[in-house]
């Protein structure tokens, strides 16, 4: 089955081509949906079987490379459509195809009746194709193909409803913003690739990482390589300062937000850094930068999530914040903890988004949580699964989020420093609070959509979503609940240790060797810190419940008392406005007013035309000599002869 892993690339591509080329003629939603989901489902089964086969192999044989054909072979560049199946790529492949399959099935219900149903599924399949390239690639260039490919699909899907308005602008504005901001990151990634090629004379992972291990390369080079690659990750995984595209990406259909902008694509940066762990471990300064950016993003985004009222926007900032967590893990050298959180986050965040989709579906596209309330009795399955996801992201044991989050907090403490732990723990409290604010305002209390009936058009009759949507919710709820058990920390599991960690250990062993952690920490410390963060989460949840269920006036009063700060959060620290004023507008205006209208039209072209006019003017003057009067010509001729004679005589 490992040898068949290339099918996980081919199948989604086939699905894309079939639905893309013939979808508009097939028309039948069941057929299109089955093709679209089916190819992903089969890919998942192949990945799963490949995992079992790999598990049965001894550790040193767990890496296989499948080489399809040569892509680019010029001078020292020699890269193929080559796919590397190993412990790390298998984990990612299972997340992408597994969660991807569930979301595809859910979309059959969610997108029901959309006039471009076929287009949706063809884009989604194209996305999985690109994403599989990204995670299975055995070289940087192919990774980059997937990297840009997922960006394209993200662009196409954010702007899927291309004629709709989104907030102050349009969905296509949001789509373009996502693509362009990602390209800024890609610019860094490209430079990283150039420097890797210059340094190692190769772009293939195995060769580059091997040489990174044994060659004597100055640390400054590693620093630059790691920095450039990290710029790419910052764009793709929405970290400060390039996170601004992700909240806008919510303009896309909700399953897209779940799949691309929560579970898979945005974690590509985390994957890439983990894949290049050797390079990052050789650049400790940049690793520290990664941790700092991650920690700052985690808490920064969480504070914004605190006050937002759009259900998807809260989840979007939550995603930015959780991605920050993952980078914090990578930054302190806990690569497998980062990947572990990628996995659990894929489960519970996909579930949160799909749950939100179910609510939005039921509420006829209403997304403001202030207009929800009391939905639990209308949609019990959505309610219970959403609750599980909310507990999971809040880090309540023994749900999956608890294990992955606590592992990150623990490593931040022992490998990083206390400040990292503190920021991480604070973020966890904020997360629990805003998540339950969202949850309570949506599902608990009294319905607030009824009282608006008189003013706001038609009645709302919330209803539970069809089975094709709720079954995916239930599966994800189960995964969110028990998914953490494969990574139970040593302190509980005893001698055989953290299994997820052990599985990935061979991938990260060279990086670990370079980082060379030392120091002893007692189990007591670990359990103490764990208890603090869990207690904090529980208190936050209770506080949220206290305020939003029983005393909503507290929230209002607090908002009023800290009006300035509230406004700052509500307007997301005005970052978009600052970027527009400082970067976007000067470039656009400057290009228009200065470069084009003055420099190009007036100066450069002006000079060209002035030259032309000069010649013309000179010719006009010269023309006057040609009067057409024969006598004048005769005189001039005579004068010429005289001068010539004089000259001859004088020179004799």
């Amino acid at each position: 089955m490992i040898d068949l892993m290339y099918l996980t690339i081919i199948l989604p591509l086939t699905g894309f081509l079939i639905n893309g080329l013939f979808g508009s003629r097939i028309k039948n939603e069941a057929v299109i949906g089955t093709i679209g989901s089916g190819v992903i489902g089969i890919s998942f089964i192949i990945s799963l079987l490949a995992l079992f086969e790999t598990l049965s192999l001894p550790e040193e044989q767990r890496q296989t490379i499948i080489n399809l054909f040569t892509w680019l072979n010029v001078a020292g560049i020699n890269v193929s459509f080559g796919y590397q199946i190993d412990q790390l790529s298998l984990v990612m492949a299972l997340i992408v195809t597994g969660v991807g399959f569930i979301i595809h099935v859910y979309s059959i219900g969610y997108m029901h009746g959309d006039k471009s149903f076929w287009r949706f599924f063809s884009y989604m399949n194209l996305f999985i194709f690109a994403m599989m390239n990204l995670i299975l690639a055995d070289n940087f260039l192919l990774l980059f193909l997937g990297w840009e490919g997922v960006g394209l699909c993200s662009y196409l899907l954010i702007g899927f409803w291309y004629d709709r308005k989104f907030e102050k602008s349009t969905t296509s504005d949001a789509a373009k913003k996502a693509f362009v901001v990602n390209r800024i990151g890609d610019f860094g990634f490209l430079l990283g690739m150039f420097l890797i090629y210059l340094t190692f004379d190769s772009l293939n992972f195995s060769e580059v990482f091997l040489k990174a291990n044994i060659f004597n390369i100055p640390e400054g080079t590693f620093d630059l390589i790691a920095l450039f690659l990290f710029i790419g990750a910052v764009g793709k995984s929405a970290q400060i300062p390039l996170y601004v595209w992700l909240p806008d990406a919510m303009a896309g259909p909700t399953p897209v937000s779940a799949l691309i902008h929560a579970a898979t694509m945005v974690t590509a940066g985390v994957y890439m850094v983990a894949r290049c762990s050797v390079l990052f471990a050789s650049a400790p300064v940049i690793l520290l930068v990664v941790a700092i950016i991650g920690a700052l993003t985690a808490i920064f985004a969480a504070t914004i999530g605190f006050v937002q009222n759009d259900i998807k926007k809260v989840l979007a900032y939550s995603t930015v914040s959780q991605l920050g967590y993952m980078f914090l893990a990578l930054g302190v050298g806990a690569f497998s903890a980062g990947i572990f959180h990628v996995m659990t986050h894929a489960f519970f965040k996909a579930l949160l988004f799909l749950g939100a989709g179910s609510v939005i579906h039921a509420m006829h596209e209403e997304q403001d949580i202030q207009n929800y309330g009391g939905l639990k009795k209308y949609m019990p399955q959505t309610y219970i699964t959403f609750l599980i996801a909310a507990f999971a992201i809040s880090g309540i044991p023994p749900l999956s989020g608890f294990f992955s989050k606590d592992e990150i907090l623990w490593y931040s403490y022992i490998h990083g420093n206390f400040a990292f732990w503190l920021i991480g723990a604070l973020t966890a409290l904020l997360t629990a609070f805003y998540m339950f604010r969202l949850f309570i305002l949506t599902f608990e209390g009294n319905p607030r959509f009824l009282r608006r009936d008189s003013s706001a058009g038609h009645d709302k009759h919330p209803h539970e979503s069809p089975k094709v949507m709720t079954i995916p919710l239930i599966i994800l709820a189960v995964l969110s609940a028990i998914g953490g058990f494969i990574g139970i920390p040593e302190v509980f599991s005893g001698d055989h240790g953290n299994q997820f960690h052990n599985w990935l250990a061979p991938i990260f062993k060279d990086a670990d060797k370079k980082l060379n952690f030392f120091g002893m920490h007692s189990h007591f410390e670990e359990i103490l810190l764990m208890s603090i963060s869990v207690a904090g989460a529980v208190i936050s949840i209770l506080l949220a419940r206290h305020i939003y269920l029983n005393h909503p006036d507290i929230a209002e009063k607090t908002a009023k008392r800290f009006k300035g700060f509230y406004n700052l959060l509500w307007n997301k620290y005005f970052v978009d406005e600052i970027y527009d004023a400082a970067i976007v507008n000067p470039i656009v205006k400057g290009s228009d007013k200065v470069l084009w209208k003055i420099s190009d039209n007036r100066i450069i072209d002006g000079l060209v035309n002035a030259t032309g006019r000069l010649v013309e003017a000179a010719a006009l003057q010269m023309r006057k000599i040609q009067t057409g009067v024969a006598q004048l010509y005769a005189i001039v001729m005579m004068l010429g002869i005289v001068i010539a004679l004089f000259w001859i005589i004088l020179s004799l």
């Binding site: 990297w147 840009e148 296509s172 373009k176 362009v180 490209l190 470039i587 032309g612």
Partner: protein, 507 residues
């Protein structure tokens, strides 16, 4: 060996075909159109035969033919190809029938003259790429201006006369300097050779030994002429005018092939004939190329006319090619060559697409459009593919060229600084901005202009025009080896000229 007729036949097909066309009654417009198409397709088929006869393992000139012409001056009709010129010959014979087919409806008056000029243009372009004698090269180089002048001047837009004269004089001015340099070089060569010679292969052995200052002047004269043609910033202002005023077929040829004559000239003449001067000038020219990349992209971004936007994007894209040439290593020059082909395909496709919509609406103002996705979905898909190719999305052709060029310039020993690449790579960001912004304003959103309702989507003729281009866009994107292999050896040969100089410097 020196007497292979294939290439002469290639020149003869459109030449004789075009002349024969003149004898057809001008009322029989369809007969003229089909004849023109068949003639240009015949040339394409012959160029494929040439491709299969070509030996990619040989870096020298192949399929050569030499006929003595002006014996006193040792000038001969001397033609042949190497890998680089073969790719450009194929590009020319590939694009020409497509442009003829694309003008089926848009050219309604003087069909015979139009078809004739297009075929003469093809002769001129092919001649430029196959000439191995500088005098012969110069003749083709200049001759090609004439049909282009008429194509813009007769079938162009409102400002066609201004644009065609500007195009003609601007490029002519550069060429005259080149003519002076050609004569100077030939005279200079008569000392070591013992006779006046314009034979390129002979001059290859002379040029590098021309002493510093003289070599620099000769280089400058050649490079100036080519820089105008490319066009390199700041010699680019003829381009937007010419493009906007030219009919679609003219724009496609202009962008697809004509501009490549400039970059072709740089590789064919400047680098091997004047390697020392090339190395000396490389930083300055690379800076201009990079300014062109960024400047072209920024100015493209704020255009309100679709055609002008694409025209300025050419300034940006050709900047990459020039940077690749003057980075002077295998990666970068291979990248530059494949990027010439790529630009021909993607910008050609963009101009064709602008033409297709212009034929229906008679406006190129971006603001007039909006919401086309609802009305002409197939057209929008085609525009997306062409835009993505131009943006340089991996998996499509543009990426291969840009990546090779930037990789090469990053490690370039001649440029010897990363900053060139750092600045050039920002073009990757700006390309996404201007094309996606244009795409958004044209394709997405609500239909705001009632004129747009009821537009017809692309018909089968238009599909036939674009589909072959898209095939190559994807082909080069995922299996560029087919094309890179062709020019590999000739590129290595150019590099050798540079290396001999560099080694001499170290001694």
């Amino acid at each position: 060996m020196e007497n292979n007729y294939l290439i002469s036949y290639l020149l003869l097909i459109p030449l004789a075909g075009g002349v024969l066309l003149l004898f057809i009654n001008k009322e029989k417009e369809n007969l003229i159109r089909y004849s023109g198409l068949v003639i240009s397709l015949a040339a394409f088929v012959l160029s494929l035969i040439i491709y299969f006869r070509f030996d990619p393992d040989n870096g020298g000139f192949q399929l050569t033919q030499r006929i003595s012409w002006i014996e006193n001056l040792n000038i001969s009709y001397y033609v042949g190809i190497d890998g680089m010129s073969l790719l450009l010959v194929l590009l020319t014979t590939f694009i020409t029938p497509l442009t003829l087919l694309s003008s089926w409806k848009s050219i309604e008056s003087k069909v015979k003259e139009f078809t004739f000029f297009m075929l003469m243009l093809e002769v001129g372009m092919l001649g430029v790429f196959v000439s191995l004698d500088l005098f012969l090269f110069y003749i083709f180089w200049e001759a090609m201006l004439i049909p282009m002048y008429f194509i813009i001047g007769i079938w162009g837009g409102m400002q066609r006369i201004y644009a065609s004269i500007k195009f003609f004089i601007y490029t002519m001015f550069g060429s005259l300097l080149m003519l002076v340099a050609i004569i100077w070089l030939a005279v200079y060569a008569s000392t070591p050779l013992g006779y006046f010679s314009t034979d390129l292969v002979e001059l290859y052995s002379i040029g590098p030994d021309v002493p510093g200052t003289i070599q620099a002047w000769m280089f400058a004269a050649f490079a100036f002429s080519f820089a105008i043609k490319v066009p390199l910033f700041p010699f680019h202002t003829w381009l937007p005018d010419a493009h906007v005023e030219a009919p679609t077929a003219g724009s496609v040829i202009l962008a697809g092939v004509l501009l490549k004559m400039g970059t072709y000239g740089l590789i064919r003449f400047c680098l091997p004939l004047f390697p020392q001067a090339s190395i000396d000038f490389a930083p300055a020219i690379s800076v201009l190329a990079i300014i062109g990349i960024i400047y072209g992209a920024l100015v493209a971004m704020v255009q309100t006319d679709m055609k002008k936007l694409v025209a300025y994007s050419s300034v940006s894209h050709l900047g990459f090619v020039v940077l690749g040439i003057f980075a002077m290593n295998e990666e970068s020059i291979q990248g530059a060559i494949i990027q010439m082909v790529n630009h021909g395909l993607s910008t050609g496709a963009l101009f064709l697409l602008v033409g297709i919509i212009y034929e229906r609406t008679h406006t190129r103002e971006i603001a007039e459009y909006g919401g086309l996705a609802k009305i002409v979905p197939v057209y929008c898909v085609a525009l997306m593919i062409a835009s993505l190719s131009s943006i340089g999305l991996p998996g499509l052709n543009g990426f291969i060229g840009e990546f090779l060029i930037l990789t090469g310039s990053f490690k370039s020993a001649v440029l010897d600084s990363w900053w060139y690449t750092v600045f050039a790579a920002t073009g990757v960001i700006f390309a996404a901005v201007y094309l996606l912004w244009m795409y958004q304003r044209v394709v997405f959103g609500e239909v705001t202009n009632p004129k747009m309702n009821g537009l017809k989507d692309m018909d089968s003729r238009e599909h036939i025009v674009l589909l072959p281009i898209f095939v190559f866009i994807v082909w080069i994107g995922i299996y560029p080896g087919t094309f890179l292999k062709v020019s590999e050896k000739s590129t290595q040969k150019v590099i050798e000229y540079i290396h001999t100089i560099q080694k001499a410097e170290f001694k």
